[in-house]
């Protein structure tokens, strides 16, 4: 049929996408003796990932107990910073944590590590191949097609990531809408390990995760971030697309995103951290916001399981993003469902539905619904520019009085008046914010 006899054209499981979710599912299934084909569109392993940021370890350790010892971890996050910025002024909170809950990593390196493990465990791993469609027969996924080649499988795991071309073609999800999408732009600035440790006041394997609010995005809904790698700093912006488009259409904003990140890099409050640095990499990536709207109707279809970003399993609360650990965990649930099906009479839709059930009863689903109002609030331009502005004004009145200094109470009342916010509005809005984030 294919002119290449003696090649396997039938697998137990085909996994499309070798990111954290796909690699985790492939690793667990291969270890259990399933015949697995893991297919990656990128050139290397997980080439399409740009995320260089914070990854939460506990759910990942459930699949990869060797994570802490073996994985390419840049630094463990022991310091959390949140800054509010207005013009050149800034307020920063810092929290020094005790436990090693999250680490900074380049996702390309982390997924390379994972997919290599999957291959070592026996998964057949191919790169540089784009899958054109998940092939359906009588309403059931039966394999994948790439160009002229069809490969058959009992179960197809869709781990294609945020841009779900395959699921769109199947009519399972709609085209990406700006409402659910944020644009991340990032630069990696080489500064040297010693500089990082002295300027952030860190021990050698410790790192900082830093979230920046206020007018660092020039009023666009979104925020800035800074993460410390071993010898470089990742910095960048996340912008909510829907609101950004509105802003541009209403003439409130007409600058290119590259200029925004440039201004962030030259900001007098942050610039000293990367003085004399070389920009070693830059790029952009899409990420999910409003995950609960982004989810497919079901996580399991006949012959098909949807994992990771493709399943909308990414939590964004405005101050934390959790996608990698959710992806790994969903890969684990998918692998368990496949195993369950094999042990219970076959890969029927009935058996595979346990995946859907387990996702819905997992901590991920619970968390996503608990925080579901957060993106909306965090993207509320008034809320996100007004509060930093009030706080900054309070600080200004307290600390920048040349002859007299205001009491905290007077400073707050004056600031509220200047920003035209009543004290009761402040309390009720703050309560709404605290409740959902």
């Amino acid at each position: 049929m294919n002119g290449l006899p003696d090649l396997p054209t039938k697998f137990d499981v085909i996994i499309v996408g070798a990111g954290p979710s796909g690699s985790s599912a492939a690793y667990l299934l291969a270890k259990k003796g399933f015949k697995v084909l893991l297919i990656e569109r990128g050139r290397g392993l997980g080439d399409k990932n740009l995320y260089g940021g914070r990854v939460y370890a506990p759910p990942i350790r459930e699949v990869w107990p060797q994570l802490d010892k073996e994985a390419p971890i840049q630094r463990w996050v022991t310091k959390e910073r949140i800054s509010m910025v207005q013009g050149d002024k800034a307020i920063t909170f810092e929290y020094k944590a005790e436990k090693k809950i999250s680490f900074v990593s380049y996702l390309t390196q982390l997924t390379q590590w994972m997919s290599k493990k999957a291959e070592d465990a026996g998964a057949l791993f191919v790169t540089e191949v784009t899958i054109d469609e998940i092939v359906m027969k009588d309403g059931k996924a039966v394999g994948v097609r790439s160009g002229p080649d069809f490969i058959e499988a009992d179960v197809v795991v869709d781990a294609e990531g945020v841009n779900r071309l395959l699921l769109e073609r199947l009519g399972i999800v709609e085209r990406l809408k700006p409402d659910n999408i944020a644009l991340g732009v990032k630069e990696i600035l080489k500064v040297g390990a010693n500089n990082i440790e002295s300027s952030f006041n860190l021990n050698p394997d410790e790192g900082v995760a830093w979230v920046i609010m206020g007018d660092i995005t020039k009023g666009l809904p979104g925020g800035g971030f800074i993460y410390t790698n071993k010898d470089s700093i990742s910095m960048g912006l996340v912008l909510h697309l829907k609101h950004s488009i509105d802003f541009i259409q209403n003439g409130k904003f007409d600058e290119h995103v590259s200029k925004l990140i440039e201004e962030f890099r030259f900001h007098p409050y942050f610039k000293p951290y990367w003085k004399d640095a070389i920009i070693s990499e830059y790029g952009a990536h899409l990420t999910i916001e409003g995950a609960t709207h982004f989810m497919p109707q079901k996580f399991a279809y006949p012959g098909l399981l949807i994992v990771g970003d493709a399943a909308g399993l990414l939590l964004s609360t405005g101050y934390t993003f959790r996608g990698v650990d959710y992806a790994v965990y969903s890969g684990k649930l998918a692998a368990e469902a496949v195993e369950f099906a094999r042990n219970n009479g076959g890969f029927t839709y009935e058996n595979l539905q346990i995946y859907d059930k387990n996702v819905r009863s997992s901590f991920m689903y619970n968390e996503l619904f608990k925080h579901r109002g957060a993106e909306q609030l965090m993207n509320d331009p008034i809320l996100m520019s007004k509060y930093p502005s009030i706080l900054i004004k309070v600080m200004e009145k307290m600390f920048e009085g040349e002859y007299k200094q205001e009491t905290v109470y007077d400073a707050l009342m004056q600031a509220l008046k200047e920003e035209k916010v009543g004290p009761f509005d402040l309390i009720s809005q703050a309560f709404g914010l605290v409740k959902s984030i």
Partner: protein
């Protein structure tokens, strides 16, 4: 037909930066790729195989990371690949490289089967010498045609090669075995195929030859076998830039601002006035 196609694994950019302190290339963060100008050569070899049957063997002399490039070629449909890799081949100029390649081709011809055709790309993006095809043909004493756009077999031991030049199209009848180099714009390469990639993983149709297999005199290979002498490299010092960003209202504003800013600078204004005088400007 048995066709050998040459491949070079090169840094994936034409603007590799140079470390100002050491004068060496900064390879960090620059992933390597199959030399893009080799792609038409690979496509031509595969088209000839599609038309006349036989096999296509990819050949490279390189450190082992080039295996990723060979995997890509097998993904496109190349039947097998040979990596020639040994420390004594390191530091080779084009003469020493083509010598090793020619000896590898002779070994293929003797041990795997009669070689009919060798195809190279026009040149590489990292050194642009275009020497390898011609030199390999010389070592083998086989005819050589370059800037090839297409080729077809006209009888069992003859091909017709079409060269497209700036002002002429030439057809050449060439006796086999022969070496040809394709024009960089000759053919669009085919994409990799899923089944070919699976085949690569299952069958691993890849052989590595070191100097244990080729048994070449180390005086003729690598740095020792390279008569090219880099007499001097001129390090062009980086000019400190002012890095001013100006957002003009329109083209006229941009021009005015540029002239004004340049005229304020002593050096720039002199250069500008000189250029205007020489160019006959006002």
């Amino acid at each position: 037909m048995r066709i050998i196609v040459g491949m070079k694994w090169v840094p994936g950019t034409t603007s590799v930066r140079i470390d100002p302190k050491t004068g060496t290339l900064i390879r960090e963060g620059v992933p390597s790729i199959v030399n893009p100008h080799d792609m038409p050569a690979i496509e031509l070899a595969l088209q000839l195989k599609d038309a006349y049957g036989g096999e296509v063997i990819a050949l490279t002399m390189s450190p082992p990371p080039a295996i990723r490039g060979l995997e890509y070629l097998i993904g496109m449909g190349v039947d097998r690949a040979i990596l020639v890799s040994d420390r004594v081949y390191a530091g080779a100029d084009t003469l020493a490289t083509s010598y090793v390649l020619a000896k590898a081709i002779e070994k293929i011809d003797k041990e795997i089967g009669k070689v009919d055709l060798v195809v190279f790309g026009q040149e590489t993006i990292d050194s642009s010498t275009a020497h390898i095809g011609a030199q390999t043909a010389s070592w083998l004493d086989w005819p050589y045609i370059y800037y090839a756009h297409s080729a077809k077999l006209i009888d069992n031991n003859k091909i017709l090669v079409e060269r497209v030049l700036e002002n002429a199209i030439e057809d050449w009848e060439v006796d086999l075995p022969a070496v040809i180099a394709t024009h960089m714009k000759a053919l669009k390469p085919r994409p990799v195929r899923l089944l070919n990639k699976i085949r690569y993983k299952v069958e691993k149709p890849l052989t590595t030859w070191t100097n244990n297999e080729l048994k070449l005199d180390p005086r003729c290979t690598g740095l020792k076998g390279s008569p090219t002498i880099v007499a001097k490299t001129v390090d062009v010092p980086e000019v400190p830039r002012k890095k001013v960003i100006y957002t003009p209202k329109d083209g006229e504003d941009a021009a005015k601002w540029l002239i004004k800013t340049l005229m304020e600078d002593e050096k720039a204004s002199k250069a500008l006035i000189k250029a205007l005088k020489e160019g006959g400007g006002k």
